[in-house]
Symmetry: C2
């Protein structure tokens, strides 16, 4: 049974968004999966930008509810971290116990990027944690972003692929995405290791 | 029946994280709610930072599963957008149909901050959308962050509070948080407007 995969990522903001989304949709079909893409449903006419935003949010949640899995593009977006909307969507799908996959097109990990954000200036506290010049801890566990994202995927048996796109092609390079598609297609009905329960404390 | 509220936010990275988390915990109790805080459970001994990260992710998910609601601190963190871990957590709780609230301590909204990120340089496309010098669309719907976050909260009947902390106190000022607590305490058992379903298409 083909798996419906929600394609989350900041590509929706690109100047050539339609072209890039269509490319991801075609690649997903070619991998034997059913693409579910943020642009799939038409947005309603609304009286204001505010109402349009709320409508898009509701539509994208419906699309996610209907999908079996998510592939989240966590490539850094306008800064050192992933697109916040994509992070929300990854959490949303993880909570539903659905199969979760992620990729980034930037090789430098979360800790490396955060240290670069502080121009390499950091200290190490008494517990061995690096801290920026503002005293705030720098997570440097080797993950591609905050541990909730990378951990959420891996703890469900999903995969995280780290690509290395040429400068300027971070949001359009498809190689890491294609590698994730192949991994996602191989485990179509995999049971999740973590199940959602109301009160799962041991 | 008191409601258990998961307290999501980037405070965990602060130099005085314990102090600030304890302050939020005390304020939550004072509001008649049960605080569920990321630091509540002890982390296991692990052989590597990598495994520790995965363990923390699993523990925080369990804490969220056990909570009835979330209050997400979406104050911009190390850039123009909210902490990515907090965004994941907000999505996670929204997907479970739980009550969702958010706040920010920065008055400038998402569109304003994104325009500032590009030093105010932007154009307007044929559909009236502002675009940065890189051609990418700037979401300027008046929301505090990406529409999935603000929309996820409002579409569930939750509240978003916009504070205005003095410079340097963006991650420690408690006024907006206290305002959210009051709103959350007032609607203890409110039914969500959006219910999670497997295939909710009309």
């Amino acid at each position: 049974m083909p798996k419906a995969v929600y394609l989350a990522g900041p590509e929706v903001f690109l100047a050539n968004a339609r072209e890039i989304l269509d490319r991801k949709i075609a690649l997903t079909r070619a991998a034997g999966l059913v693409p579910v893409s943020p642009g799939d449903l038409e947005f309603p006419k609304t009286a204001s930008k505010w109402e349009l935003g709320l409508a898009i949010s509701a539509i994208d949640e419906k699309l996610m509810n209907a999908a079996d899995a998510i592939i989240a593009n966590l490539t850094p977006f306008r800064g050192i971290a992933a697109d916040t909307g994509t992070c929300f969507e990854l959490g949303y799908m993880c909570a539903q116990g659905k199969a979760a996959f992620a990729y980034t097109n930037v090789r430098a990990d979360h800790g490396t990027r955060t240290k670069a954000h502080f121009q390499g200036v950091h200290s190490v506290d008494e517990n061995g944690h690096p801290r920026g010049p503002d005293g705030m801890m720098i997570e440097d566990m080797g993950f591609i972003d905050n541990l909730m994202l990378h951990g959420g995927v891996l703890n469900r048996g999903g995969h995280v692929v780290v690509g290395d796109a040429p400068p300027g092609e971070e949001l359009t390079d498809m190689r890491a995405f294609m590698a994730v598609l192949e991994l996602a297609a191989r485990q179509p009905g995999q049971a999740c290791r973590i199940q959602v329960a109301a009160h799962p404390f041991p």
